[in-house]
Symmetry: C2
Subunit: 360 residues, 2 copies
C-alpha cells in the first residue's frame, strides 16, 4: 500500500458549548490550547496525523466562519485543503462532501475522518491502529471505527457491540447504540462486549460512497450534482446545503450498514467533551486542584478545575471543593463539577437575556 | 455662628486592602462606586458635607498618588484644597497637618475631619449632629466624635465608653478602646454604655492644636516649622514627613485627652470596611444574592455578594451559599463571606509571589 492513497479529514466545525465560557462561537474549543500544552487541539490533531498521512492529503472541514482561524493555526495546509461549510449540518453531510471531493482527486483513496478536538495520549498505538485500519480499508469493503474500552457508564457516547472472534485485532460490529440511558450504559459496561465509539472512522472513498448510495440515497444524489475541485464547487455546495438532511454519520450510515468493523484501541483517549474530562486529563497539584497559572492561590479548596484565560490574572479561591471555575474576558463560570452537563442549559438561559448572544 | 468658620477635611489616603480585588493600590475603594449608586464614595462624602460646609472650606487630604484622581472626581474643589501626603503616616499626622493649614487661613476655624469611604444613609440626622458638634466646638474646648450604637461585637472598631448624663445630646468620654478582642467586645455590647467610634471628629483648630501640644509635643514642634499656604509648604512637609511618628489620632490624642466628648448619632452608618458590610448594605434579590449586573445568573445559590467590575461580562454561579465573588480585570476572588477578614492575608500571600505586586 502506498501512503499516497491515504487521506485525512479533520472535522473542526463544532461550537463546543459544553465548554463555555472557554469555548465560544467565535473561538471554539478546537482552536484553543485547552490543556495548556502549547498547541491548540486542532494543531495537536494535525501534528498527530501528519506523521502518517502526507500533509498535502490532509483536509480540514469546518464552518465557513472558522476558515481563517484554521489558516492561522495550520499554516502548513494548502488553502484548497481547508473547506468551509456554509452551515452546520451534522456529520453525515460533511462525510459525504469530503468523500466526494477526495474521490474526485483520487478514486482509490482511503480516508480517515476524525474530530479536531479529541485528546489522544498514546500516539504510537494510534499510529499502529490507523495503519491497520488503512490496510483493511484498502483491501476490504469495510467501514472501520476505532473502539475505546469504556471505563464508566457514560451516557454521552455511542456504544459499539462487536462479534467476538478470538485473537483478532478487529471485529465485526453487531450493534451501534447512541447515547443510552444510565441503566443501559451500566449493562453495556458490565457485559464487556461494548466499546465506545470514538468518532474516528477509516474507509475507502469507494466503500463510504457506496454506503451513502444505499442508506442515504437522496443525500448521495444531491451531492452527485456538484463538480468537485472546480470553480463551481463552492456555489454548488451552497445550493445543496440548505436542502440536505441533518443527520449524524452514526445514525445515517453506521447503525444501518452491515460492513462496519471495529478496531479496539487503547489510545489514552478523551473527547474532552466536558470540563470534568478536562479536569481528569489536566495536571493537578497536591490538593487535586487543576490550576491554569501560578497566580492562583487556593485555601481550603480541593478537586477544583480552575482556568483563567488571562494568564496575567490572579485568583484567590477559598472554600471550594470539586468546582469548575472558568474565567474569560466575557464571562465567569462557577459550578460544581458534577453539574458540568448543565452548562449547555446555562448558556441557553444566558442567550435568552437581552443581548445575551454576546456572551456565547 | 457663621458657617464661614466651619471647615471640612476629607481623609482619602487609604488603600482599602480588605476590599481587594475591587480596591487596588492604583484605584482604592474611596474612588470607586462600590455600591453602584452612580457616585464614588468620595463623591458621596463630598455631596453630603457640601450641604453644610461651604465648598471653598472643604479640603481633601490624600496620598500624593491620588491627587489627580481626586481632581477628576471632585472638579468642584479648588486645586489648593487637595493636599497630597508624601507618604502614609496614619491619622495623627494628617490631622495636625490640616489643622495647621486651616488655622493659618482662619485661626477661629472649626473643622470636621472624616473618612472619604464611609456610608451614611441618614443624611438629615448627620447634618443635625454635625451642626450640634460645630456649635459645641465653637463654644467649648471639646474634642468631639460621633458615636454609633453597636449592633454586633465587631472587633475591628474602636469603642467609646461615655459618662451618662440623662437627657443630653452629648456625653463626656470616659475611655477609648481600640479593636478589643471578641469577648471584651461582647461585654461592651451587653453593657449598653459603649459606642463605636465612627472616625468622624469635630473640633476647633485651637482645641486640636492645643491637644497636639500636650499629647504629641514632638510632632507639634515638627509641624511648627512650616509656613503653611506658601510656596514653601510642600518642600517643608516633605522634609517633616519621613521623621514624624506614625500613630493614629485615636491612640495619639483621643485616648489621652480629658476633653473628648461623644455625640451619639444614629446615622445608618457603615465603614464599608469589609465585603460583608458591602453585602449588608447592597440591594439583594429574592435569593439574597447581591449582584452587580443583569448578566449574572445564579442556580442553587443564596446569600452571595457577586460583583463583576466589567458590567458587560456575564457570570453563571451554581451551588454557592454565602460567598463573596469579586471579579476585576486583574484578579478573581472567591471566598466564604465569613472569611472576609482573611482577605488582607490572601493579598499578602499574593504579594509574596514573583511579580505579585502587579495584582494589588
Amino acid at each position: 500500500m502506498s501512503t499516497s492513497n491515504n487521506y485525512c479529514v479533520i472535522m473542526a466545525g463544532g461550537v463546543g458549548s459544553r465548554f463555555w465560557p472557554m469555548s465560544t462561537q467565535k473561538y471554539p474549543k478546537q482552536f484553543q490550547d485547552i490543556l495548556g500544552t502549547g498547541r491548540t487541539m486542532i494543531q495537536q490533531t494535525y501534528d498527530r496525523i501528519s506523521q502518517i498521512v502526507p500533509p498535502k492529503n490532509i483536509f480540514v472541514i469546518t464552518n465557513k466562519e472558522y476558515v481563517s482561524l484554521t489558516e492561522q493555526q495550520l499554516p502548513e495546509l494548502r488553502s484548497q485543503n481547508i473547506v468551509g461549510e456554509p452551515m452546520m449540518k451534522n456529520t453525515a453531510v460533511c462525510n459525504i462532501y469530503m468523500a466526494k471531493k477526495i474521490a474526485d482527486i483520487n478514486p482509490n483513496a482511503n480516508m480517515i475522518i476524525l474530530p479536531a478536538d479529541h485528546l489522544i495520549l498514546k500516539e504510537k498505538i494510534f499510529h499502529k491502529k490507523i495503519e491497520l485500519a488503512f490496510n483493511l480499508a484498502e483491501k476490504n469493503d469495510y467501514l472501520i471505527t476505532l473502539g475505546i474500552k469504556p471505563t464508566r457508564p457514560d451516557t454521552g457516547f455511542g456504544y459499539i457491540q462487536f462479534v467476538d472472534k478470538k485473537n483478532s485485532q478487529y471485529f465485526k460490529v453487531k450493534t451501534f447504540t447512541e447515547k443510552p440511558d444510565l441503566e443501559i450504559a451500566q449493562t453495556f459496561l458490565d457485559s464487556g462486549d461494548f466499546l465506545w465509539n470514538a468518532g474516528i472512522f477509516i474507509w475507502s472513498v469507494k466503500s463510504i460512497l457506496a454506503a451513502f448510495d444505499t442508506h442515504l440515497e437522496e443525500m448521495a444524489q444531491q451531492f452527485d450534482s456538484c463538480e468537485y475541485n472546480s470553480n463551481e464547487e463552492e456555489r454548488c455546495i451552497e445550493t445543496i446545503y440548505p436542502k440536505v438532511l441533518k443527520i449524524s454519520i452514526d445514525n445515517g450510515i453506521l447503525e444501518k450498514a452491515k460492513n462496519v468493523h471495529v478496531i479496539p484501541a487503547d489510545l489514552g483517549w478523551s473527547d474532552l467533551g466536558t470540563w470534568t474530562s478536562i479536569y481528569e486529563n489536566a495536571k493537578k497539584n497536591d490538593d487535586k486542584n487543576a490550576v491554569s497559572s501560578k497566580h492562583i492561590l487556593t485555601y481550603n479548596s480541593k478537586g477544583n478545575m480552575i482556568s483563567l484565560k488571562n494568564k496575567n490574572k490572579a485568583a484567590i479561591i477559598d472554600g471550594l471543593k470539586n468546582y469548575i471555575i472558568v474565567d474569560t474576558e466575557k464571562a465567569l463560570l462557577i459550578c460544581p463539577r458534577e453539574n458540568d452537563q448543565h452548562i449547555k442549559e446555562y448558556v441557553q438561559d444566558l442567550k435568552s437575556l437581552k443581548n445575551g448572544d454576546k456572551f456565547l
